[in-house]
């Protein structure tokens, strides 16, 4: 706790964890909320992107003369003639991982990669112009699967990356070989994890406006206005301060909207050429084929345990299909290896991850960040081990789980952990179900997740999160944060923390976010960082403002030094005599006069220091999913679910439930629906008819049992809730299938045909066995 904390353990929270409406509600339920999709500026042009039809090819020549001759076309740009050709990437600290030009100069590396862009008076003219751009390519041999791309004779996708190995990661602790020696039972399995599309309801979108004073303003659907400001400044050769990024309401992000994308880059380049605003909105098809996806992975994992179920050693080797560029894929590579150990204690653990370039859609972060893949493998294998040894799967998990105070050697200190209570809750839930109908089964999966990362591969000089609280004379509060609300409700969460910490009503707090000109830098909405990191900054800023205000109250109060003042719900009072006091507004007026007419301003910031290798705090959960499977057709139907969940102190009650239910639908989709096949680098189902997702009639109840813990690193003891919840469901579905049929599904998403085939194989094997 920082020095501004007012300790008041008997006073319940007034705003925290109450049924507060999302503060953006009125705008969103009345059709007033405008998104980048809706932005319309005077003189605005429409941009369209010409995309590579080849997975790997040299760009020989681009002839845009016919397109430029089409009436209504104002500009056609390409990488070679119109950009600085700067290779960028979000891992700015590591030059060799900055490998993407967005509009490439020399060659294309995936089907759908931008090659040229057009700005025209109408969208229709821009689209017609695309057909009139002649591009001469020299096709190159291409490679699509990581296990092919690492072969000696595979085509080289990026110069200097031998065997197309883009990034490697190694995590290790303990004496791994010794730990395996101690094991009495060892199991090894190979798994294949699919990709997944973010499928934000608002596709990638940007409106860029470059003006003759050398300033670039960009409206874009982003998870981090600051990231895009910095990235765009870098590739456009502009000063960061001359780039303003605005995020109107954002229609979803899920990990796909904080890297520089084609909409942003091409709109900027076009606007710089014509000095007019240019709007680019991806069609749904473009969004599927040209916005990066969840990382497909090949997982090998070998686990050694004692016969009584004590975990000894694990060794995992993972090859990820990185696609054509690095992006955030490097982080997913690291996190998958780390969370593959969660939530268990291992005497010896070793992970080797290889991210491999291929000529396919680049892979990046997506909600869960490598952990859904990690759990698909780990939690199923653990279930099979329990079955192999005849042990109770919950108790086997429990005895090996993390606990408060545990140190993951060299990696992390677990300061709060409610996993043990999670096991109890799920046991109760299972018991309450009694005997299930014969075509149903329950599958479980445990997991843990981070509350923001400690890494600064972006190489920012700024605090990871900052906040400014300004108190107006009428008692209303302006809260400026760089945290980005992408639907998860961070505006509301920050308003809640501010209102709680400052002592005002939430209606009196106005949140300002999504504008780099007015809001402090913040790394943005990814890795589940904002509640903990921006939340801490907001708490600090609010308590700073409160302290300044209370100075004026103390001065007037004449209170004995041992008595404290506090502010709750706009009432300034002595804690011992709460009925005596004054209104917040009255105090503010005095304080403002006392400060020579200056508004009280509180500042706060947070950057994790010395918090291990991954995160300052970890959430934990155990999820049970009840599944009905048709044994003749393999059709899967989700019936019920319960998630026992430890996110420390919940802040935004409605937000938390929404996060759980939403994460479940996305995570379930990863487990059994969102098949995303590629053939020779081409995505086969880039539309919502053929890409299947959970709809209302497929969604089961998503019950939640909140486990009470207190995380010292988090504001009011809070940790993340929302991304971690995407991690367990695929594995839980896999385990439900296992418990029903005894078949082990190694590949996700699981489809009915796979189940039917596995059942056939099992029946055939049993027949063979009987014959013998």
């Amino acid at each position: 706790m920082n020095k501004y904390t007012v300790i008041n353990p008997h006073e319940p929270f007034r705003v925290l964890n109450t049924h507060v409406h999302n503060i953006d509600g009125i705008a969103k339920v009345t059709g007033r909320a405008t998104y980048t999709f809706d932005v319309k500026l005077p003189g605005m042009l429409y941009g369209k992107i010409l995309r590579s039809p080849y997975p790997h090819a040299k760009i020989i020549k681009i002839d845009a003369s016919k397109a430029l001759a089409l009436p209504g076309v104002l500009a056609v740009v390409n990488g070679k003639d119109d950009t600085l050709g700067i290779k960028q990437g979000i891992w700015r600290r590591y030059n060799d991982l900055c490998d993407e030009q967005v509009l490439p100069v020399d060659k294309v590396r995936y089907i759908g990669e931008p090659v040229a862009a057009v700005a025209a008076v109408t969208e229709e003219i821009a689209e017609k112009a695309l057909d009139l751009i002649d591009v001469e390519y020299e096709e190159l041999p291409a490679t699509f699967e990581p296990l092919d791309a690492i072969k000696k004779d595979a085509p080289e996708i990026h110069e200097g990356f031998e065997r197309n190995i883009n990034v490697t990661r190694h995590i290790e602790w303990g004496e791994v070989e010794e730990a395996f020696e101690e094991a009495e039972y060892i199991r090894e399995d190979w798994f294949k994890c699919g990709g997944q599309a973010h499928m934000c309801m608002e596709t990638r979108a940007a409106v860029a406006s470059y003006t003759p004073d050398g300033k670039m303003t960009v409206w874009t659907s982003t998870q981090s206005a600051y990231y895009h400001q910095a990235l765009l400044a870098g590739v456009l050769g502009l000063r960061e301060g001359n780039v303003r990024v605005l995020a109107p309401y954002v229609g979803g992000g899920f990990g796909g909207k904080f890297e520089l994308d084609g909409a942003q880059f091409c709109a900027c380049i076009l606007s710089m050429k014509v000095r007019k605003p240019v709007k680019i909105i991806f069609t749904r098809e473009e969004d599927f084929i040209a916005s990066k996806r969840r990382t497909p992975m090949f997982y090998y994992t070998r686990t050694g345990v004692k016969k009584d179920g004590t975990f000894c050693a694990r060794e995992a080797k993972v090859f990820t299909n990185g696609g054509a560029y690095t992006g955030m894929g490097a982080t997913a590579l690291y996190l998958t290896g780390f969370f593959h150990s969660f939530p268990y204690r291992w005497k010896g653990y070793r992970y080797d991850g290889y991210r491999v370039y291929t000529n396919t859609l680049p892979s990046t972060s997506m909600r869960g960040f490598g952990a859904p893949q990690a759990m698909w493998c780990s939690e199923q294998q653990i279930e099979w081990i329990a079955a192999d040894l005849g042990l109770d799967p919950i108790e086997m998990r429990r005895k090996n789980s993390h606990h408060e105070g545990y140190v993951v050697p060299g990696q992390a200190t677990i300061a709060s952990c409610g996993i043990d209570q999670c096991y109890d809750e799920i046991k109760t839930w299972i018991k309450s179900k009694g005997k299930l109908p014969k075509n149903r089964s329950i599958g479980l999966s445990a997991c843990g997740f981070m509350s923001g990362g400690i890494f600064n591969w972006f190489d920012t000089p700024y605090s990871f999160s900052s906040a400014v609280v300004t108190v107006n004379n009428d008692g209303t509060v302006e809260l400026h944060v760089g945290a980005q609300d992408i639907g998860q409700g961070s505006n509301t969460t920050m308003a809640i923390i501010c209102a709680e910490a400052l002592g005002v009503k939430i209606e009196d707090v106005k949140v300002h976010s999504g504008d780099t000109d007015h809001c402090p830098a913040d790394l943005g909405a990814w890795g589940s960082r904002q509640t903990l990191m921006t939340g801490n900054a907001v708490k600090m800023a609010s308590e700073d403002a409160k302290k300044q205000l209370l100075e004026f109250a103390y001065a007037q109060s004449g209170l004995n030094i041992v008595y404290d003042l506090d502010i709750k719900e706009g009432w300034v009072h002595a804690i011992a005599r709460p009925e005596r006091g004054e209104t917040f507004e009255a105090l503010v007026k005095r304080a403002t006069r006392g400060k020579d007419g200056q508004r009280i301003v509180g500042r706060g910031y947070y950057t994790p220091h010395r918090k291990g290798m991954i995160s300052p705090a970890y959430s934990y959960m155990l999820q049970g999913v009840e599944v009905e499977i048709d044994d003749e057709t393999g059709k899967i139907k989700l019936i019920d679910s319960m998630t026992a969940h430890d996110c420390g102190q919940p802040i935004n009650h409605l937000g938390l439930i929404g996060q759980l239910e939403g994460a479940f639908s996305m995570a379930a989709g990863y487990g059994y629906l969102e098949y995303m096949p590629f053939e020779d680098g081409k995505m086969m189902n880039p539309n919502l008819v053929d890409y299947k997702m959970v709809r209302s009639t497929d969604m089961p109840p998503a019950n939640i049992a909140e486990i009470d813990t207190y995380e010292p690193e988090g504001p009011y003891g809070a940790k993340e809730a929302g991304e971690g919840l995407t991690n367990p469901t695929a594995a839980a579905i896999g385990n439900a299938i296992y418990h029903r049929f005894g078949i082990q599904m190694k590949e996700c998403p699981v489809r009915p045909e796979m189940i039917v085939n596995a059942l056939k194989e099992k029946a055939a094997a049993e027949k063979e066995g009987k014959k013998k």
Binding site: K28, T30, D38, M199, G251, G487, E661, N687, L688, S696
Partner: protein, 161 residues
């Protein structure tokens, strides 16, 4: 191609438009009339973000030609409130937190409103089916169904004095 002069009645206001007949209703609403509450999220009539009410029926405005909607009563999300007073379904969405990023919300509201107008005492299954044509990537749908249920149960019925 001949442009057509048509009158569209949207939220009980008549708008005169002079448009290419291939203009979709969603384009007429968003680009010609300027009401951007109705969104678009796909090209295959799959996502439902463009759902409006035409003569009290929930319909995807991306697959209706604007010229076909002449003479009909079109309601969009902006038309749900009356004199600044939110409709019951809007209040229910606020109470249940039935939206996150909000991009699907206008469509969800219209599907819900149309359903509530035509179905009394709905079952849980019927309420889920009411929004089956609308995709939401954020909420997992259950909070939207809870909002519909609350309205159906009469939680927001006007108290007559």
């Amino acid at each position: 191609m001949e442009k057509k002069l048509i009158t569209l009645t949207v939220n009980d206001i008549e708008y005169e438009l002079y448009i290419n007949p291939k203009t979709l209703l969603v384009e007429a609403i968003r680009d010609h009339i300027g009401l951007t509450g109705t969104k678009r999220g796909c090209e295959t009539v799959s996502c439902g973000a463009c759902t409006v009410m035409i003569d009290d029926m929930a319909i995807k405005s991306c697959s209706v030609l604007a010229v076909q909607a002449e003479g009909r009563r079109i309601i969009t999300a902006e038309g749900l409130e009356k004199n600044g007073v939110l409709a019951p379904i809007q209040k229910a969405f606020l109470d249940e937190g039935s939206y996150q990023c909000g991009f699907c919300t206008s469509g969800m509201l219209m599907s819900s409103e149309a359903f509530l107008k035509e179905t009394k005492n709905p079952t849980e299954e019927q309420m889920k089916e009411a929004i089956e044509g609308n995709i939401c990537r954020c909420t997992g749908y259950n909070s939207i169904v809870r909002a519909i249920a609350a309205v159906a149960k009469g939680k927001y019925a006007e108290v007559k004095s």
